[in-house]
Every structure is written in C-alpha cells, then in structure tokens.
C-alpha cells in the first residue's frame, strides 16, 4: 500500500498563496479556515538576511499525534497514510488540535461566517454547503484531497502524476514547488527528491515522522 506524501521545494516557492486559496476553493472552506498556509519570517541580521517562507499543511504524520489522542477514532489514518477526520464520529473535543505540533487543524465552530460579512451568503457559499458540507462543532483539516485521489484512482489515474488524482494545491502551484507521490515507492519522484536533495521534515525531534518534506 502506498504512503502518500509531499515534497515542497522552497527554492521554487515564490509565496503566491495559490496553495492556500486553491485549497479553500476546492473544499469551499469558509472565511477564516485554512488547511494550507504560508508562513513567512526571516533569519539573520542586516544585511546578511534570508527570507524564510514555508508553505505548511497537515503533515499526515506516520506517527500522528492527532490519531493517538483522538478518543473516538474520528481522526484516523487511512491505509495510504492520509490522516482524515470522520466528522460523524467527531465529538469536537479538540484534543487532536492541541496535540498537533504543527497546529494544522481548524475546528468548524461558526456556520454563520460569511465571505462578505453581514451581506448574506453568496452562491458559492450556498453551493459549497451542499457539495462539501462541514459539520458544525467538529474538527476539520487537510485531507490531501482524498476525494480527488480516490475518484482518480477509481478511474485508473495515478496520484502525483495525473492532475485529477492529485491534491488541488499541488496542481495549482504555478511553479511546481509541490510534488506529490508515494513515499514508500523508491522510484517515485517524491522519494527521489527526498533522497537526492536531502528532504527534511518539520520538527523531526517530536518523532511524528511527517509525510510532508521540504527541500532547499
């Protein structure tokens, strides 16, 4: 079975926020909810400064703290390594959010939030509630676009190779800074990049073994 993962090429990323916005459209996420972000900072002292810019999303950790702490099994890891939340089982205790060292979870608390505050829901929001309903009081998170992967695989497509079986943020990246694929397959592009370009994980010391790697 595959273990899906992602490699993010920091040298290529220009910080255009396409991953953040595309993700929101793909899942009709309401204002204020992010499954993808870009963190921006800097290191060094003037004039020897380096801008630090990290696109972040759920790391779909192999040793996922969120899966361990979830008391109901709502947060679970699929066989292909994707960590998902079954909203029907979630009690909304937020233990997973507390436990996640990367803070990559957003509870859906307020279903009255509008894109244009005080001006009612747009057609986009109304349609989104039908097509991609979120349950108030439950936890939400990046699911590596599991729907796309599942649908695509059913049609014989390969995640990371065919757009329709690949996460939206990967496709939308205008500079191909995000590469998706099977970490367990040594011949996959992600495995190759991690090996050749010395991919690293965020906070490896926490033992979570993230499936999202960065290369520089």
């Amino acid at each position: 079975m595959a273990r899906f993962g992602m490699v993010i090429d920091l040298r290529k990323c220009i910080g255009c926020w396409s991953c953040t916005v595309s993700c929101k459209e793909e899942h009709f996420l309401p204002r204020g909810m992010f499954w993808n972000r870009v963190l921006i900072s800097e290191s060094g002292k003037y004039p020897a400064v380096k801008k630090e810019m990290y696109p972040v999303l759920c790391n779909h950790c192999k040793e996922a703290a969120c899966v361990d702490v979830c008391p109901t099994g709502a947060t679970n890891k699929r066989e292909d390594g994707i960590v998902v939340v079954d909203a029907d089982k979630c009690t909304g205790c937020r233990y997973c959010l507390i436990a996640c060292p990367y803070q990559q979870r957003t509870p859906y608390k307020d279903d009255k939030v509008e894109w244009f505050p005080g001006q009612g829901f747009t057609q986009f929001e109304i349609l989104g509630r039908t097509l991609y309903p979120l349950q108030k009081g439950t936890m939400t998170k990046c699911n590596f676009c599991a729907e796309r992967i599942d649908e695509g695989q059913k049609r014989g497509l390969k995640p990371g190779v065919d757009n329709d079986a690949t996460p939206a943020c990967v496709i939308s990246c205008p500079v191909n800074a995000r590469i998706f694929g099977d970490l367990d397959d040594p011949s996959s592009k992600v495995s190759g990049l991690i090996k050749v370009r010395k991919g690293f994980q965020l906070h490896p010391e926490l033992g979570t073994d993230p499936s999202v790697y960065y290369i520089n």
Binding site: S41, E52, A65, V67, P71, C93, Q103
Partner: protein
C-alpha cells in the same frame, strides 16, 4: 498578529479561550470532586463521598459536555482507551461513577446488604480518585507539542493539588458537621507543603527543559500571566493558606474556627483554579519555522 501564527511562539487557545474555558472548569471540578472523595475515604467521612461523587460527575461531567462540539456523541469517547488519554479518563470516570454509586448508596439508603466500607471498594475508589485527580493534567501531559504540559513534574503537581483542595473541602465539611479535625488538618499541612514543593520543582524543572518550555515559564512568571500567577497562585493560593496553617500549627486547634477554615478553603480553591488556568494559558507551541 495573524501572520505571527506558528512563526513566533504560539499559545494554545482551544483549551482555555472561548468555549475552551469550560474544559478548565471541568477538569477542576472533576479533580476537586475526586479529591474530596479521596480525603473523605481516609477520614471515613461519608457525606464527603456523596459530595465528591456529585461534584465530579454532575459538575465536572456536565461542564465537560458543554465543552464538546457534539455532546450527544460523548459516548464515543469510550472507544479508544488503548491510545487516547481522554478515552481512558472517561473510562475512569465511568468506573468511578458506577463503583462510587454502590459505595455511596448505603450512605443514602439504610438497610442495604452492604456498607460501602469494604477496604477493597475503598482501595479501588481511592485509585480511581487519584486517576481522576490527575486526569486533567495527564491528558495535557501527553501533548509533546506543548512542553509546559509535557513536563514530567506536572503529574505530581496535579495529584498533590487535587489532594490539597480535596482535603480543604473535606475539612470544611467535617467542621460543619462538627467532627474531629485533627487528622484532616494533618492532611492539610502536609499536602500544602507538598504542593509548594512540587510546584516549585515543576516550575524549575520545566524552565530548564527546553527553549519553548523556558519561554512558557517566562510568560507564566514575568509575562502576560505573571500578575495572575503571583496574586492568584502565590498570594491567595499559597501564602495566605500557609499563614493560616502555620498559625494553627503553632497555636493549636482553637484557632481553627469555621471562618478561618472557610477563608483558607476559598483561598485554596482560587489558588488551584488560577494555577490550572495559568498553566493552560501559558502553554505555547514551538514555531514551525
């Protein structure tokens, strides 16, 4: 500033702000209920059993439910005791509820074929009490992402503070029901001194554990939480009760009027609540970048 999120040290909010404040209260009530029960077991103070049982289950339980996004699904929390501390906690509370029910029933209804004083039952309940007292902090303790909670010294703090609060409650109830306070005051003395010791060790040990832990402790002692900590935890929670306790210790039990006991009780409650609040509030995540 939103752009500082996980770029700088980022405090946990979900378990202390907004609806999260309920979890703080829930942990507190579950803990002091169990504390009352625990101390009452030793003092064989049966009214304390009932009160402790009710506080843990009704107050603690209901507030816990209020904290959840989907309270009606709370039974699902029982499903993962092997991996989740929260699940184990609910099992403990469940067992505490059931076994405690049978222990307390003879207190309320006379003529039952058992008394509730069996040492087996008391031992089991004593263990369950300890587990409940430590449950809140144990739940927090497993979160490796928050070094302030992940400190190994947090469990002793939790246990001792639970007993300390429980002893005060029980002692007050003993006083009200006109019973002997000698044993309970001994409990109070030693739990207060232990509390001071473990709290100090916790703060000192955590400060030296990691950069993020150090930053957390700084926030607790010199940062945003400092005023709350010094007034709530130190002055009200420790110094005032310490003075009262020492005066009683030196002068004998005649000083231990109901009023004094009540003052100490209130101080201890405030101190414990503040201590829990401060620790929950000051927990911060290490920046991602």
């Amino acid at each position: 500033m939103e752009y500082e999120w996980m770029v700088r040290y980022t405090p946990q909010r979900e378990w202390i702000e907004g609806q999260g404040v309920l979890l703080w209260l829930a942990f507190f009530f579950s803990e002091i209920g169990a504390g009352i029960y625990f101390v009452s077991l030793f003092l064989n103070f049966k009214a304390g059993w009932l009160v402790g049982w009710l506080v843990t289950l009704v107050l603690g339980g209901l507030i816990h439910l209020g904290f959840l996004g989907h309270p009606m699904r709370s039974w699902r929390i029982l499903l993962k005791p092997a991996s989740s501390e929260l699940s184990r906690g609910l099992w403990v509370i469940f067992l505490f509820g059931v076994i405690g029910f049978f222990q307390i029933l003879p207190v309320v209804f006379s003529g039952l074929p058992w008394t509730g004083e069996s040492s087996t039952m008391s031992t089991i309940m004593g263990i369950l009490c300890i587990l409940i007292i430590t449950h809140g902090f144990l739940t927090m303790n497993v979160v490796r992402a928050l070094p302030l909670w992940n400190s190994s010294m947090i469990i002793p703090v939790s246990l001792v503070s639970g007993i300390w609060v429980g002893s005060q409650t029980a002692e007050l109830m003993l006083k009200i029901s006109g019973q002997e306070l000698y044993m309970s005051e001994l409990w109070s003395r030693w739990s207060l001194l232990s509390y001071m010791a473990v709290l100090f060790v916790y703060l000192w040990g955590t400060y030296h554990a990691s950069d993020t832990a150090k930053e957390s402790i700084k926030r607790l002692l010199i940062g945003d939480s400092a005023v709350r900590f010094y007034i709530g935890v130190l002055v009200i929670g420790i110094i005032i009760p310490l003075i009262i306790t020492l005066v009683v210790w030196g002068n004998g039990f005649e000083e231990l009027s109901g009023g004094v006991l009540f003052i100490r009780f209130v101080c201890v409650l405030i101190g414990d609540l503040t201590m829990r609040y401060s620790i929950m509030k000051s927990a911060i995540y290490t920046p991602i970048i």
